[in-house]
């Protein structure tokens, strides 16, 4: 029934991509909603169904969904309208510039952050009242982003349709916001937005934002809007709950729901509380932070939460019902929701997760429909497929004799689809800014484009957490086995439309800090005694406010200069460090770049040396500069080497460069001081002359041996002599076998694979390099290594120094000028130009109760707390794991403060501070609802990749599987509604965990294929260790696009498809990218015209598979494809290698390696198989 409905609805929604929304929503909803399980559920359903997309506000949506269920229609209608307006309004105002002034007046400024809220409010407002609307708007500033939506609204609406949920959520948020603002804010924004004209758009915007940021809101919104507006938190809750259930039941799903529902239900209950608390917390906090009108927030939140819970529960049902279909169903339902907000809400929510599935379903529609039915049945089938996250249980199975189906076949379409989840989130949250004012919000997925407004918490671009709701006790944390980790990218590059962190100068005495724990002044510090003292938000110690920093408090207890000081109102900002933060109490010199070029036979012969020298001539004009300064402060130096080192004196006063050969590699030193590191502009002629001559000088070299450690030593010594930090760019070609310290031998031995000794392949040969790295770090000498091996060169050992100094390794095996030149040059350019900090120390402070215990990434640690980085660039990420050492409280939540002390590229010593506040929960369901699977995978991968250093790979794999099984089993046991043991129930936010985990397990490091070299494995191991979430996401689950579906006339990308061979059509072209490579797969039956357009040849057989770029052809298809590739390239921190793969060509094996849902050649399980396996594991744990 539901199935049918869903199916129908689903389709319609499908368009909206409820699936995606659902996904996101669900995901988010789950997360955000956590507090309100019910609400979340609701949200899920919500999103899925009609709203799905809109509902997307994921987390919240679910809740919203529920709420929406409850009052979906109204909400939807209201919200959409309102929202649009708001959004529009908000966006317009976006100026954001003005921080969230007190809710009311300031709104505009605050908007950015609030915008979400604002939107929420808007919706609420709409739903509730103009007033609310207005407020939101007020807060809206953020909305701005959404502004555009107005127009789109209609479209979005559809989503919104579902959106109701989102709307609700939004409203909730809004409510929260409103609450704060409602009193004051509403009017302004409200008006503007209220204008309603934008309303529709607003909704659109909402959805977008909602999905992303709003989730929480949405959840609240959905219901809240109504409720909120009414300010009937309690009621809302009840309604939600009821709704949620009803919705579930109501919807076709009812049958199915039960199980799921139950599962969910339980959460709801618990969540209900949670949610309430959540919302309250969230709502409250936001309001407080935001505008300060807490009540509304609570009310709203309350509602939302409740909804969320419901939502979440419901979704499961649907999902359950038709395991995979479930989601779809939901998604399908989604559509219905529009009509029936409530149902939609449900489905949305639950489906949330599924919804995503559906997302894809839309296409598959057919199958899904079926699934929905199963969805209901899923419960039974589950046994066979443990797949279904929540209800994932194979839909079919559910419909069919669950038992039978399970094992026999699981419809791949029925299991959670990453594509769907991503699409949903993109649709639901991509269009509205993510405003960081509220504690514990789950941000949009990394695959979603969204705008961030800093209103007190660090942007997810800087910090992402595995969970935004942390268990209050270590027992809970242990029970769930969900790792608590944050992935921090302190110097992340922001999109141009987001403001980089402000620089704060506290003058001579330096930044204001807590006396005890030394935490830096941040928005969470509480000023007391009229502003004379402040209480530390981390350790509660009370510290005097220094006289020069004193400021009166306003009636709300906030400093009057709140908006004038970034450190009081923003999540991320920088302090100017004083001399006491510098080595030897001396301000640092500007850093230096040293280019160290291997000039041995191989390097010269391949043309590499000439290439580098040519490139450097122009590249030196693009050294990183600070702000508006015209000339880079960075000095440069040059070294070439083979068995000996050649330093160059390029002092500007010289008529010609001087080369200084140091052959005493056993005891490296720097032969010159003056003239080695120079200002590029001053010494330009000498440098150019040098770069002209280097290739000539070594043109006839016959030296094949190289040294390596002395090269690093030399660079380090040079920096030491110049008393500055800096970076070495080393271009190296071979295993360093020349007699010198750090000499290596070829120890590559593939026979070790799958033995206990396999770990030695990842360990360095000698401890020499670790010690060297230590010295480098002490000197602030970061090493970037460009490798051009023709054979084994022991990346595991050579990489130690780059790795521990925060540098990067680039590897170009079998480098050939024609094919690899562009890739290398692009990498080099990017590497030289990117923003980078030197001589950095990072410390993560946390609220009492948890503690940063483990760190992953490219750095060095000499003690247990300080992460030392000789260099840190904008792409480097550090993953930090937290453990409890005490209890946390739900009221105060958990705070993180990441402080990075570094030397900027102009030589300025600075402190970059990122703050993030998380919620705390006493209910497991809250935890599961606020998780972020991508981040989780990032953590797990890094954890495993480090594990292989000390453990057999098999152990590491088993550990991973175990942990995931426990995470999921815990959920099943504690959060899911009772259902048959055979049913696989996955948390909405984690429904992709199995598929992603499988990708990690199948990765080259953990399960190498026959053609993967030891060096590759070591390389990837180190590479992944400093990847951020977006990179790991695409690395483990590559993006696969059908090129024939490319819309030549628009900028939108075709919908991605799942990484499975059976989804490839012989008649199509596909693009696959994983962050390192781009493949263009050409099916044998591709139309001649396409081939002609793309490759400029007449037939399939004449396509050359050795192309490294697509030919530049003057036709729109070629242009479009190339622009897509260019776009991809620009999104990644490394230039990807382009490989043309012809179907049934030998290269196809390589390509298939990336079809990660399939069984791999090296024995990796297919998605379906792995899901089954996981389910088995979970069942074992449960029994």
């Amino acid at each position: 029934m539901s199935v049918n409905q869903q199916a129908h609805t689903g389709l319609p929604y499908g368009q909206p991509q409820p699936g995606y929304q659902g996904y996101q929503q669900s995901g988010y909803g789950g997360q955000q909603m956590p507090a309100v399980h019910h609400s979340q559920y609701g949200a899920y359903n919500g999103p899925m169904p009609g709203y799905q997309q809109p509902a997307p506000p994921p987390g919240y949506f679910p809740s919203l969904g529920f709420p929406s269920k409850g009052s979906p229609v109204c909400l939807n209608s209201d919200t959409p309208i309102l929202a649009p307006n708001f959004i529009g309004a908000l966006r317009a105002p976006p100026p954001s510039g003005a921080p969230p002034p007190t809710s009311g007046a300031p709104v505009p400024a605050g908007q950015p952050v609030y915008s979400q809220f604002g939107q929420g409010d808007v919706q609420n407002g709409i739903g509730a009242s103009a007033v609310q609307m207005q407020r939101p708007s007020a807060s809206q500033p953020f909305i701005p982003g959404t502004a555009p939506t107005p127009v789109s609204q209609p479209a979005t609406f559809q989503q919104y349709g579902p959106p109701p949920t989102s709307a609700q959520q939004l409203t909730n948020h809004m409510a929260g916001m409103q609450i704060g603002t409602s009193s004051s804010a509403p009017p302004p924004a409200g008006l503007g937005y209220g204008s309603s004209t934008s309303v529709p758009s607003a909704s659109g915007s909402f959805t977008a934002t909602g999905s992303g940021h709003y989730t929480p809101y949405s959840s609240s919104q959905g219901p809240p809007p109504v409720n909120v507006s009414h300010g009937l938190p309690p009621t809302s809750l009840s309604p939600n709950l009821s709704l949620g259930q009803p919705a579930f039941s109501g919807p076709p799903m009812s049958a199915q729901h039960p199980p799921q529902a139950s599962g969910f239900v339980s959460p709801p209950c618990s969540t209900g509380i949670g949610p309430s608390s959540y919302p309250s917390t969230t709502g409250a906090p936001r309001p407080s932070t935001m505008q300060g009108s807490p009540l509304p927030g609570h009310a709203l939140t309350g509602l939302p939460t409740s909804q969320p819970n419901h939502v979440s529960s419901p979704p499961p049902h649907p999902a359950m019902s038709g395991p995979p279909p479930g989601p779809p169903v939901l998604g399908l339902q989604g559509p219905p929701p529009p009509t029936h907000p409530s149902p939609s809400g449900y489905q949305m929510q639950q489906n949330g997760s599924f919804g995503q599935v559906r997302g894809p379903q839309p296409n598959y529609g057919g199958s899904y429909p079926g699934t929905p039915n199963y969805g209901s049945q899923p419960a039974p089938p589950p046994p066979p497929k443990r797949l279904d996250p929540d209800s994932i249980p194979s839909p079919q199975l559910s419909e069919l004799p669950p038992q039978q189906k399970p094992r026999h076949r699981i419809d791949p379409d029925a299991i959670p689809s990453p594509i769907q989840v991503i699409e949903d989130d993109r649709n639901n949250r991509g269009s509205e800014p993510f405003i960081t004012g509220v504690r514990g919000q789950v941000p949009p997925l990394v695959t979603t484009n969204f705008l961030v407004k800093d209103q007190g918490n660090a942007s997810p671009r800087y910090i992402r957490c595995t969970s935004y709701n942390i268990p209050c006790t270590s027992d809970m944390a242990k029970q769930s086995q969900v790792p608590l980790a944050a992935v921090i990218k302190p110097l992340a590059t922001l999109p141009t439309d987001e403001t980089p962190p402000y620089l704060v100068d506290h003058g001579e005495p330096g930044p204001i800090r807590c006396n005890r724990c030394k935490a830096y002044m941040c928005p969470f510090m509480q000023f007391i005694e009229g502003g004379r003292r402040f209480q530390c938000c981390f350790c509660s110690c009370v510290t005097e406010v220094p006289p020069h920093y004193f400021q009166h408090l306003d009636h709300t207890g906030r400093r009057v200069d709140f908006y004038d000081r970034p450190e009081l109102s923003l999540g991320s900002y920088e302090f100017l460090a004083t001399a006491s933060y510098c080595k030897n109490n001396k301000f640092p010199n500007p850093p230096a770049f040293i280019f160290m070029i291997d000039v041995s036979y191989n390097a010269v012969k391949s043309g590499l040396v000439r290439l580098i020298c040519e490139e450097l001539k122009s590249l030196l004009d693009y050294l990183p500069r600070e702000g508006s300064i015209e000339e880079s402060a960075i000095r440069v130096g040059f070294v070439t080497y083979n068995k000996v080192l050649h330093f160059y004196n390029v002092k500007s006063s010289l008529a010609q460069p001087q080369m200084m050969v140091v052959s005493d590699v056993a005891d490296m030193f720097v032969p010159l001081l003056d003239g080695f590191l120079v200002n590029v502009n001053e010494s330009r002629t000498v440098i150019v002359s040098l770069l002209d001559q280097i290739p000539e000088m070594f043109a006839d070299t016959r030296e094949t041996e190289t040294v390596f450690a002395p090269v690093i030593q030399a660079g380090m010594e040079a920096l030491k002599a110049a008393e500055c930090a800096g970076k070495l760019f080393i271009f190296h070609t071979s295993l360093p076998i020349a007699e010198a310290p750090g000499k290596l031998k070829n120890r590559d031995d593939r026979k070790l694979i799958n033995t206990d000794k396999e770990k030695t392949l990842f360990q360095p040969q000698t401890s020499f390099y670790s010690n060297l790295a230590k010295d480098c770090v002490a000197q602030g000498c970061c090493v970037d290594l460009f490798l051009f091996p023709n054979q084994y060169l022991d990346v595991a050992t050579l990489g130690v120094v780059p790795y521990q100094t925060g540098g990067s390794i680039y590897k170009y095996a079998y480098f050939q000028l024609e094919t690899d030149q562009e890739r290398f040059l692009n990498d080099l350019r990017r590497d030289v130009q990117k923003e980078v900090g030197f001589d950095a120390v990072m410390r993560v402070r946390t609220s009492t109760g948890i503690r940063a215990t483990d760190f992953f990434g490219a750095f060095y640690m000499s003690n247990t707390t300080d992460v030392e980085l000789a260099g840190l660039d904008c792409d480097k990420t550090i993953t930090v794991e937290f453990k409890h050492d005490d209890k946390l409280s739900e009221d105060s939540g958990a705070l993180l403060q990441c402080a990075l002390l570094y030397t900027s590229c102009a030589g300025q010593r600075r402190l970059r501070i990122h703050n993030l506040s998380l919620n705390c929960c006493t209910q497991l369901a809250d935890l599961y609802r606020n998780c972020e699977t991508d981040t989780l995978i990032n953590y797990l991968a890094k954890f495993a990749y480090r594990g292989v250093l000390n453990n057999p790979v098999k152990t590491v794999r088993d550990t991973l599987i175990n942990q995931c099984a426990q995470i999921l089993a815990c959920y099943r046991k504690n959060c899911a509604s009772p259902s048959s043991a055979g049913q696989l129930i996955l948390p909405e936010c984690m429904k992709l965990l199995p598929v992603y985990l499988n990708c990690v397990l199948k990765s080259d490091v953990l399960q190498p294929g026959a053609d993967v070299t030891t060096d590759d494995r070591a390389y990837i191991r180190q590479l992944v260790s400093s990847m951020d979430v977006a990179e790991t996401n695409v690395f483990f689950y590559p993006r696969l696009l059908p090129l024939s579906k490319v819309d030549i006339d628009s900028d939108t990308l075709p919908a991605a498809i799942r990484n499975s061979e059976e989804r490839l059509s012989k008649g199509d072209l596909y693009l696959l990218e994983n962050g390192l490579n781009i493949f263009v797969w050409v099916g044998v039956n591709v139309q001649q015209s396409l081939i002609q357009n793309l490759f400029g040849v007449s037939s399939f057989s004449s396509i050359s598979s050795t192309l490294s770029t697509l030919p530049v052809l003057e036709n729109s298809f070629s242009k479009r494809v190339r622009s897509i590739i260019d776009m991809f390239q620009s999104q990644r921190s490394r230039y990807m290698k382009l490989i043309i793969v012809k179907q049934e060509d030998k290269l196809e094996m390589l390509f298939k390696h990336f079809l990660v849902e399939d069984k791999s050649m090296s024995g990796g399980a297919s998605y379906v198989d792995f899901l089954c396996h996981m389910h088995k594991e979970i069942r074992q744990l449960l029994s």
Binding site: V644, F647, L654, A655, Q656, P657, Q658, M659, M660, V661, V662, S663, D664, D667, F669, P671, L672, L673, D674, G675, S689, L690, Q693, M697
Partner: protein
């Protein structure tokens, strides 16, 4: 007498040889009783305008242990075409080329006037001379600039095909590659690390070529090796001039209170290693220019803390010179390696403080290199001295020779005890090597890596003929000196000097022996022994030894009544000897008071290599007097010679002092010399200046030129040298117009002689 003086002078002019005794005591016992050993001063490359070298190989005695060269003393059977070796009496066939020999058709080597003859021989391929500059960059800007200019100038003085190389050092050591276009290239070494020759060659990339040595011919190897660091002057003239021009002061910061870090030890080590690896046994000069003491690494002489002063004699006596032994060892090892390869090391040290010559002296001493000490590179003392290194003889040839080996052959009654001079032993044992050693002994061959026309070795002999084996009447003892060397024109040459002296029975013919005593040569030979001993023994011990020798000599050859000092007389041939000894005792060669260890080393270095005349000047400076009372005349080196109306010109070899007497100085101040009517005064003032210029023109190293007057502080240079016949202790001389008193407690010659007489006649000793 006159005949002996003439004989001696003639011999010196012809052969460059001065024997202490020109008639030799015929028994070992008698010889030892003569006190002054039988010895000679040999100037192997004494310039001879009238000696055209012959263009063929010398004819050698066929006895393997002898191999003496055919000489005028040999008996020749013109009919049988045989000649008898006058050392081993082996009869030898003349080689085929001598078929036309007859009494009227003698080859040059048989003619008596060719007791010294020079052969030009073909040995291997001629290798160009090599000059390797090792330049300190831790100098004051002006000094460095001056040094750079001197070096650039020197390029024009080098033979065009000479190879030249450049090593600079400061905190690091840089070996410059000279053949690069567009980029100047150098190999850099850390200044603190001692490297073995092999390491250095590896690091300079010189071993690779060793590998191809087997495959390619030797010439290629040489070219190959040299191409990078050693280049023909004519090819890289411009390059090197530019390179020198761009030379900067050592860029490493020197903080307050520190000395710059100067890696002299490593720089030298690398220079030596470089040449060793590329051109062993080829004439090469390593020219070290340093402006301060080595302060780091092997061979460091003092730490870089300015508050710790560089070692003084006082420190050395107290065993308080912590780096000295190690540093000395380092440089000794280097010097020996250098000598083994036939290269030489010059040291040009210009600084106000010491530069570590004490530790580095062996580098120059053992290899025949120059040692020049000055205050600054920016002085004419250095500039002219350096320029004079490249001076040319009347043939337009450089006055330098390389890689010489000196072999001495003696007739059976004599054996060789040793040699003292700028040489090292080649450890060639032979029948004519004595067991008793004087100087560098135990060998009959020495290597002298660098020679100039004035380089003089003291060679000591022992008479081994037993008392009971009288020498036949008219028997003569013979000594043959065979020097093989690389001429500056890159030819290999062999100079053979064969001399003979009569034997005399010391008991019956003592007066002959006495009359043939060369007291000047004896004084120098004894002084060399004393200075040689002073290097290893305590100063007072050496003085005691010298005194004892003098007393014994006086006892042996004086005429006196026992215990009656007044009756003591010495014959003319001995009369000056005690005075030489008196001044020698006061000389800086044996007295370290008032001299830094570096100065002592510097003085001793020159004393051990100069010829007889210069050595005597060093022992007893020459004093000329200029006055209105007559033409310039030499006067006693005595305080009584210092008169108010005189201008004195003193030449101590190291210094030229012009001293204006009190009255003269006043006149000069009054400006009389500028008045036309006192033109004679102007001439008087000018005369010593002109004479001084004459000395300055020829002396190497350029002496310190001091123009002073009565009462000026610089007058101390004069006052410290003259015999203090009048001091504050014997004021009876006051008021007499007989000079000026010297404020010293040193004994005067008079007192010395009085004591000597007393001791000589004493029956107690």
């Amino acid at each position: 007498m006159a005949t002996y003086l003439e004989f001696i002078q003639q011999n010196e002019e012809r052969d460059g040889v001065r024997f202490s005794w020109n008639v030799w005591p015929s028994s070992r016992l008698e010889a030892t009783r003569m006190v002054v050993p039988l010895a000679c001063l040999l100037t192997p490359l004494k310039e001879r305008l009238d000696l055209p070298p012959v263009q063929y190989e010398p004819v050698l005695c066929s006895r393997p242990t002898c191999k003496a060269v055919l000489n005028p003393l040999c008996q020749v059977d013109y009919r049988a075409k045989l000649w008898a070796c006058n050392f081993c009496f082996q009869r030898n066939q003349f080689p085929p080329a001598y078929a036309g020999i007859s009494e009227v058709n003698q080859p040059a080597e048989l003619m008596p006037q060719f007791s010294t003859i020079e052969y030009i021989v073909q040995r291997g391929s001629p290798t160009p001379l090599i000059f390797l500059y090792v330049v300190d960059t831790c100098l004051e800007e002006e000094d460095l600039q001056a040094l750079k200019e001197s070096l650039q100038m020197s390029l024009s003085l080098l033979p065009p095909d000479a190879l030249v190389g450049l090593i600079t050092f400061g905190r690091m050591v840089q070996v410059h590659e000279l053949s690069c276009e567009g980029i100047s290239k150098s190999y850099v070494f850390r200044g603190t690390k001692d490297l073995t020759a092999k390491q250095i060659q590896d690091m300079l990339g010189l071993t690779r070529q060793d590998l191809c040595k087997h495959r390619n011919n030797h010439l290629f190897l040489a070219v190959c090796n040299s191409c990078r660091f050693l280049q023909p002057v004519h090819k890289i003239d411009m390059n090197l001039t530019d390179l020198l021009g761009e030379l900067q002061r050592d860029p490493w910061p020197v903080t307050q209170g520190k000395r710059p870090l100067r890696s002299t030890g490593v720089a030298l080590s690398i220079a030596v290693g470089l040449l060793e690896g590329t051109f062993p046994n080829t004439g090469a000069r390593v020219m070290l220019f340093t402006g301060g003491p080595p302060t780091q690494g092997p061979g460091m002489v003092v730490g870089d803390e300015l508050k710790t002063p560089i070692r003084s004699w006082h420190d050395i006596e107290k065993d308080n010179a912590r780096f000295m032994k190690k540093a000395t060892k380092h440089y000794e090892v280097l010097a020996n390696r250098t000598a083994a390869n036939g290269h030489c090391i010059d040291i040009y040290a210009c600084a106000l403080d010491q530069t570590g010559l004490l530790e580095m002296k062996c580098c120059a001493n053992l290899t025949g290199g120059h040692m020049v000490m000055g205050d600054s590179f920016n002085t004419s003392l250095f500039k002219q001295t350096f320029q004079r290194v490249f001076s040319k003889d009347f043939n337009g040839q450089f006055r330098m020779a390389f890689g010489a080996t000196l072999e001495v052959k003696t007739s059976r009654e004599l054996k060789i005890s040793g040699a003292i001079g700028p040489c090292v032993s080649l450890n060639a044992k032979g029948p004519c090597v004595s067991e008793s050693e004087l100087g560098i002994g135990g060998t009959c061959q020495w290597k002298i890596c660098s020679l100039d026309p004035s380089s003089t070795l003291a060679i000591y002999f022992e008479v081994v003929n037993q008392h009971n084996a009288p020498i036949p009447q008219g028997g003569r003892g013979a000594v043959q000196f065979v020097s093989q060397y690389q001429h500056s024109s890159t030819q290999r040459r062999i100079r053979v000097t064969t001399i003979a002296r009569n034997w005399a029975d010391a008991q019956s013919q003592l007066q002959h022996i006495e009359a043939a005593f060369d007291q000047e040569a004896a004084a120098v030979l004894m002084a060399r022994l004393g200075v040689y001993r002073a290097e290893s023994e305590e100063g007072p011990d050496v003085l005691r030894w010298l005194d004892r020798q003098l007393i014994r000599l006086c006892q042996k050859f004086g005429q006196y009544n026992k215990d009656d000092p007044n009756s003591f007389r010495l014959s003319d041939s001995f009369s000056l000897y005690p005075q030489f000894m008196f001044h020698l005792r006061r000389s800086p060669f044996l007295q370290v008071f008032n001299n830094s260890p570096d100065e002592s080393s510097y003085y001793r270095h020159h004393f051990a290599r100069q010829d007889l005349t210069q050595s005597l000047i060093m022992i007893q400076p020459i004093l000329y007097s200029y006055s209105f009372s007559g033409p310039p005349e030499p006067v006693l080196l005595d305080s009584s010679s210092i008169l108010a109306d005189r201008i004195l010109l003193m030449d101590t070899f190291f210094q030229i002092v012009i001293y204006l007497g009190e009255t003269i100085a006043q006149w000069q101040k009054a400006g009389y010399q500028d008045m036309p009517e006192y033109e004679n005064f102007r001439h008087l003032l000018q005369a010593p200046l002109d004479d001084a210029q004459e000395i300055l023109q020829t002396r190497f190293p350029m002496p310190r030129y001091i123009n002073t007057e009565h009462g000026s502080s610089q007058a101390r240079f004069l006052l410290s040298k003259v015999n203090p016949s009048q001091t504050h202790n014997n004021l009876y001389a006051w008021g007499q117009e007989s000079g000026s008193p010297i404020l010293t407690d040193d004994v005067s010659l008079q007192v010395f002689m009085d004591h000597l007489k007393k001791l000589a006649v004493s029956s107690a000793s």
